[in-house]
């Protein structure tokens, strides 16, 4: 394998792991055949090492950990909200730009379409609907790795689920004189189905989906520790 590529791929590993095994892995890569398969194997293994670090080779006191300890409200309260806001902004921008590019003559972008236009809008939809769940999983992952009590991740999960469940996007071209089109986001519980408001039901679904992997992980940990 090319020396530079080998060095780059080894750099993907966490620093404690790299300090111990980096040189010998790099030597192995430089002496052997490269290729897409080898590169993919290394990328996957490095990612695995970040998520499930080898015991004894964890980052002892990183900047990230110190943030979790010093300002958990920022890590679990503020950062997820900012991330969600960024994801919604991207989703709305895709909706707005797609509306202007593919549907310039319509008063709303919510009309049946197909082909490339449909694909473009589906990317926005995917970001919009998956963002609360992905952010929720990230909260659980960080809390799990830092061995924090469930209270701190809950600070992030609950508002994220409520926002994700109640968020609504409205688009109207006639409201703006220039005719460019106007997209607004609002939050509403919506109509009730069987006594439960629609938005609350969606929030509960998001909460369940995000909390479940964390709970399963905690349960497994408890079982593996107990004799």
């Amino acid at each position: 394998m090319n020396d530079r590529l080998a060095h780059l791929l080894v750099r993907l590993y966490p620093r404690p792991w790299r300090e111990r095994y980096g040189a010998e892995l790099e030597a192995l890569l430089q002496s052997g055949h490269g290729g897409v398969r080898t590169s993919a194997n290394l990328i996957w293994s490095a990612l695995h090492e970040h998520v499930f670090p080898t015991p004894g080779l964890r980052i002892e006191q990183s900047q990230f950990q110190s943030w979790c300890v010093r300002a958990p409200w920022a890590m679990f309260g503020l950062a997820p909200l900012l991330l969600l806001a960024a994801a919604y902004f991207v989703a709305c921008f895709i909706l707005w730009s797609g509306w202007n590019i593919f549907l310039p003559g319509t008063n709303t972008p919510f009309v049946p379409i197909d082909g490339l236009a449909n694909l473009y809008f589906q990317v926005g939809r995917l970001i919009y609907f998956s963002a609360p769940i992905l952010i929720g999983w990230a909260i659980g992952l960080v809390a799990g790795r830092q061995r924090l009590k469930a209270a701190w991740p809950a600070v992030g999960w609950i508002p994220i689920a409520l926002i994700g469940g109640t968020a609504q996007v409205r688009a109207n071209r006639t409201e703006v004189l220039s005719g460019v089109g106007h997209i607004r986001m609002g939050f509403a519980l919506g109509p009730s189905v069987h006594g439960i408001p629609d938005g609350l039901f969606h929030a509960l679904v998001i909460l369940s989906l995000t909390v479940l992997p964390y709970l399963i992980w905690r349960l497994q940990k408890t079982r593996s520790v107990s004799p």
């Binding site: 792991w17 111990r20 095994y21 040189a23 010998e24 892995l25 030597a27 192995l28 890569l29 002496s31 052997g32 398969r37 080898t38 194997n41 290394l42 990328i43 996957w44 293994s45 490095a46 695995h48 090492e49 080898t54 015991p55 004894g56 080779l57």
Partner: protein, 115 residues
């Protein structure tokens, strides 16, 4: 160095697949003597047809070393040989014994099936 590429190709049956338990394969490879990474990959390919990727191999080496089941020897130029420890040999024996019992039981049941 002897290449096992052809051996692997001859033994590989896509319907059956390869046996793949990287830590066990590394322990089994080191049971025949100390080896460095490249030699382990070749040896494992010769034993069971599984060609471990370098990332998978070093993932297994790191975990086995942290568990105390293998240990590094003095480096040879840039290559780092490893050897199995007494604890590693005990674990390997226990795992292989379990596998042998499982294999025996499975084969007995297959013989009784008479298809």
């Amino acid at each position: 160095m002897r290449s096992t590429r052809n051996v692997v190709a001859a033994k590989y049956d896509p319907e059956i697949g390869h046996y793949s338990d990287p830590p066990l394969l590394v322990l089994a490879s080191l049971a025949s003597g100390p080896k460095h990474g490249h030699a382990m990959i070749e040896d494992i390919a010769g034993i069971c047809g599984t060609r471990l990727g370098p990332g998978t191999l070093y993932g297994a080496i790191a975990r086995l070393e942290q568990q105390g089941w293998i240990e590094p020897l003095p480096a040879e130029e840039r290559r780092q040989p490893y050897r199995i420890t007494a604890e590693g040999a005990r674990i390997l024996r226990a795992k292989l014994t379990t596998l042998r019992q499982f294999t025996k039981a499975g084969l007995r049941r297959l013989e009784a099936l008479c298809i």
